[in-house]
């Protein structure tokens, strides 16, 4: 069996979980006050890479472009993926990059990784930008086949091919699962509903082994970390950062929030009257439900 090399491209994003997020008076995100974390879709991509590690003993490299603080996202991703190599592309030159310029930086980085990369994983989209373009554009720049909305995959290491299942939502009609086969290398944008399944003893054993190793590795993440500036990366300065960005966001308009339709009511769990009320509401809701 030959070696499999996979990469994950991730993003440090504002933590939108309750209590972590902070807004400016005008309703825009207060980036200074908001905590940052590994994006939820990036975390799923890291899990998809961990699956390759467990199932095929893949070598995993994780990369991100961002300020030095983005190291935090790399550390979290390493805990999830047991990565062997962490890349941070950090340079003032990279600032102001749109999706295309980001793709250029990531492409340059992926080429710097140890071994020829067979699969690159990315999240479905970022929770702050929400364009979902960086992945496909990076794939295009790398010349890799792009597979989006992947919910499961299987690699044939000898034939160097991959079989993937894609979840396709026919809006409002139904969901279908498409099975595709492609030669490596590929770029996979992992569907948010992806859940790795380990159903053999050997997979469970390596899962346990690598999970334990990843805890140790992520505690010493600096040992695995390489930081690249634009020179070290050898990227074309005209194609990265602001100069490489054909799109510029010049205004963000806030959509006024619609009035909430929900009516929340606070019930006291220690008051039997209130519990009775809750039960009768649940009953009411259940009786209104029509089982198709």
């Amino acid at each position: 069996m030959s070696q499999l090399n996979v990469a994950v491209v991730i993003k440090l994003e504002p933590d939108f979980s309750e209590g972590s997020v902070s807004y400016n008076p005008d309703g825009t995100l207060n980036r200074a006050e908001t905590k940052n974390t590994l994006g939820p879709h990036s975390a799923i991509a890291a899990e998809a890479a961990f699956y390759a590690k467990v199932k095929y003993g893949a070598r995993v490299s994780v990369a991100t472009m961002g300020p030095p603080i983005a190291e935090l996202a790399l550390q979290t991703a390493q805990r999830l993926s047991n990565a062997d190599e962490l890349h941070l592309y950090s340079d003032r030159v990279f600032a102001g990059a749109d999706t295309l310029a980001t793709a250029e930086t990531l492409k340059a980085g992926i080429k710097k990784m140890q071994g020829d990369i067979d699969i690159v994983f990315s999240g479905h989209r970022a929770s702050d930008g929400e364009t979902g373009q960086t992945g496909p554009q990076t794939a295009w720049k790398l010349g890799f086949t792009f597979l989006g909305n992947v919910i499961d995959y299987e690699v044939d290491l000898d034939a160097r091919t991959i079989k993937a299942k894609r979840l396709i939502s026919l809006q409002g009609f139904c969901d279908i699962v498409e099975e595709v086969e492609a030669p490596l290398p590929v770029f996979i944008a992992v569907d948010p509903s992806y859940k790795p399944i380990f159903n053999t003893v050997s997979q469970r054993l390596s899962f346990a082994k690598y999970r334990k190793e990843s805890e140790v590795r992520s505690k010493n993440h600096k040992y695995y970390l390489q930081v690249f500036n634009v020179e070290q990366l050898g990227a074309d300065k005209t194609l990265v950062g602001l100069p490489g960005s054909p799109t510029i966001v010049y205004k963000v308009e806030r959509i006024p929030q619609g009035k909430a339709k929900r009516q929340a009511e606070v019930l006291d769990g220690s008051n039997p009257e209130h519990i009775r009320k809750a039960v009768s509401k649940i009953r009411e809701a259940l009786s209104a439900m029509v089982i198709k």
Binding site: N199, T200, V201, S202, R204, L205, A208, K209, V266, D268
Partner: protein, 623 residues
């Protein structure tokens, strides 16, 4: 299909010891545990012994796990006091049995299995990994089948795989035994039902109250009126900063005279001797003014909860030399004074701002239950089936003779012997029952524990009688007085023990293990010779639903138990005897709601009983 040399089913102390021993011998083995984490379904009294019998040898925990056990294992305390108490109302008569506890023992540690088995798992899996094995948790074995010379294991969660041999370490309610028909289910007269509560108490208070040094502990056993007329008794073991308080009764005795298992624990809690041991300063919340807006009421409730929690944590640390030092090292507090001041501050705030009062009471953390096989009556004579070897509780091997209570060490000894036998079988590539099974049986027969399961040890009996020499024999009105008087003479004792062993446990036990021994005689002794203990408070005992509410479950929508006959007399008694009230009687039919089930197996006799699927069911935090 994947292939492995050995599969061990069940990650209790015995299963983990088997995994470690096989790794010690350089053999590949995988261990399958149904709980989401090793240790999450294990319960024990419990004391873990290491023994040094005069004749023969046993495999002790340190033989299997190595010296690292002493340096690193999270055992609780080394038990250096072992005392038996006879109770009658507020009177207690105590007998020091430390000599019996130390009989042929290297040590006896009090343990909490969730922690300890977690540690065993860590070391065993690390060793097993070297040979391509390890631990797979969250997996429930549903069947084992044979196809020619292939042994195939099927689980609810994973693809089938093939093995050469199996060690069944799946406990008293062994599904492996059941599915293969290796032995019938244990019957009520072969079982004890044990229920236990974990009580929180800071380390320094335990040291002072039980007059032990840090790291040392005490064990107390109880018989008499606390048994509510059942055959069995209570126990109290000190852990590092908790206390294990339990009641263990012959299951047939409970069936004869059904009592809710928790009432037997409550009886112990109410006994002034016990309640004085466990008392502590406990914060009591004040009623929140109902006139306040609801949101304010909630806010107060949360604030008080949070504050009480930090008060407990800090106080626990302040009253424990270990934790205090850890806190200082972490830099959270610069000095002990700093810590004390913070504690006073929280307490002041609780009392002045939130009208919390502090009263004498006790704090219960976890309720648990388990069936215990009485090895004297139920050990499997030939604990194997084809290429499956049974160990520990699954093989019905536990030593319970009067105050002698040993289970974990027996399971570990069995596990090491089973691992040794399988290792030899792998080397000779012979897994036939005539070789593998029989060589395991032979090894077990050589174990001093097997001897203890079959006959009375006259040296142990002497120590026991010496300890009871202060009891004037003539005050015991029953025939015991005469017997005890006679037995104190060495020559007669020797003859009597010989005679008793000729009779055998089968005929002897019904005479010895009786209401007289466990109830009447202790009550009489306590009444006549006991000292009176005055209770300084009456403990607030949680109801069973409160106890269940504190447990943690991973609910399974699908029931792992099926009632076979909802009108049977046995099942009707289960309405009372189920430790978590899972059964109820409706229109004369026994109904089951499995949600609160703690998987003790008390009802397994007349139900289709299996463990929940992988990761489902009870998750004990202490065990």
């Amino acid at each position: 299909m994947e292939k492995y040399d050995v599969a061990i089913i069940g990650g209790g102390s015995a299963g983990l010891a088997a995994l470690k021993q096989l790794a010690n011998l350089g053999k590949q083995a995988i261990l399958l545990e149904a709980g989401n984490k090793v240790g999450s379904k294990n319960v024990s009294g419990g004391i873990l012994y290491s023994k040094k019998p005069k004749k023969g040898r046993v495999f002790n925990v340190e033989d299997v796990f190595g010296e690292i056990f002493f340096q690193d294992a999270p055992f609780e305390r080394k038990i250096t006091k072992y005392i038996l108490h006879a109770t009658s109302k507020d009177k207690v008569f105590s007998m020091d049995l430390t000599a019996a506890h130390e009989y042929e023992a290297n040590f006896g540690y009090s343990v909490l299995l969730n922690k300890l088995n977690g540690w065993f798992a860590e070391y065993a899996s690390e060793s097993a990994q070297k040979y391509g094995g390890g631990i797979v948790s969250g997996v429930h074995v549903s069947s084992i089948s044979w196809d020619g010379d292939k042994t195939i294991v099927t689980t609810d969660e994973l693809e089938q795989f093939e093995v050469k041999a199996i060690i069944a370490a799946d406990g008293v309610n062994s599904e492996v035994a059941d599915m293969t028909g290796a032995r019938p289910k244990f019957s009520p007269e072969q079982l004890y039902q044990g229920v236990k509560v974990i009580i929180k108490l800071p380390e320094d208070i335990i040291n002072e109250r039980f007059s032990v040094d840090s790291g040392h502990g005490a064990a107390h056993l109880f018989a008499g009126d606390v048994t509510l007329n059942h055959i069995g008794g209570g126990f109290l073991y000190t852990n590092q900063n908790t206390i294990s308080l339990g009641a263990v009764y012959h299951f047939d005795s409970l069936l004869e005279n059904p009592a809710e298992p928790y009432t037997l624990i409550n009886e112990l809690l109410k006994n002034p001797f016990v309640s004085e041991f466990i008392k502590d300063e406990v914060p009591k919340r004040a009623e929140i003014d109902k006139k306040l807006p609801q949101e304010d009421q909630l806010r107060i409730r949360f604030a008080v909860t949070k504050m009480i929690k930090s008060w407990y944590e800090l106080r626990d640390a302040a009253l424990s030399s270990h934790k205090k030092n850890d806190l200082m090292k972490s830099g959270k507090f610069v000095s002990e004074k700093d810590l004390q001041e913070k504690l006073v501050l929280i307490r002041d705030q609780l009392t002045s701002k939130y009208k919390v009062s502090f009263a004498t009471d006790y704090v219960e953390a976890e309720y648990s239950a388990k069936l215990i096989p009485d090895g004297k009556r139920c050990r499997m004579k030939k604990p194997y089936f084809k290429n499956i070897l049974f160990v520990g509780d699954a093989a019905g091997r536990g030593i319970f003779v009067g105050p002698r209570i040993e289970g974990l060490n027996v399971g570990i000894d069995d596990a090491a012997r089973a691992a040794n036998a399988i290792s030899n079988a792998i080397e000779r590539n012979n897994f036939a029952p005539t070789y593998l099974g029989e060589s395991y049986v032979q090894s077990l027969e050589q174990s001093p524990y097997t001897k203890d399961l079959t006959e009375i040890d006259k040296n142990y009996l002497k120590i026991f009688l010496d300890a009871s020499k202060d009891v004037p024999k003539d005050i015991i009105s029953s025939r015991y007085g005469t017997i005890m008087k006679l037995m104190s003479s060495g020559a007669i004792r020797s003859v009597a023990v010989k005679f008793a062993n000729i009779l055998g446990y089968d005929r002897l036990l019904p005479m010895v293990e009786s209401v007289d021994t466990y109830v009447k005689v202790p009550i009489e002794i306590a009444q006549r010779l006991g000292t009176t203990i005055t209770a300084s408070y009456s403990p607030t005992i949680p109801s069973i639903s409160e106890r269940i509410a504190r447990l943690s479950y991973n609910d399974d929508g699908q029931s792992h138990i099926k009632v076979l006959n909802p009108t049977s007399e046995f099942m009707k008694k289960l309405v009372v005897l189920c430790p978590t009230n899972c059964y109820s009687l409706e229109n004369n039919l026994v109904m089951l709601s499995h949600e609160g089930c703690i998987e003790c197996g008390t009802c397994s006799q007349e139900t289709e009983w299996r463990h929940p699927r992988g990761e489902k069911g009870i998750n004990y935090q202490y065990g």
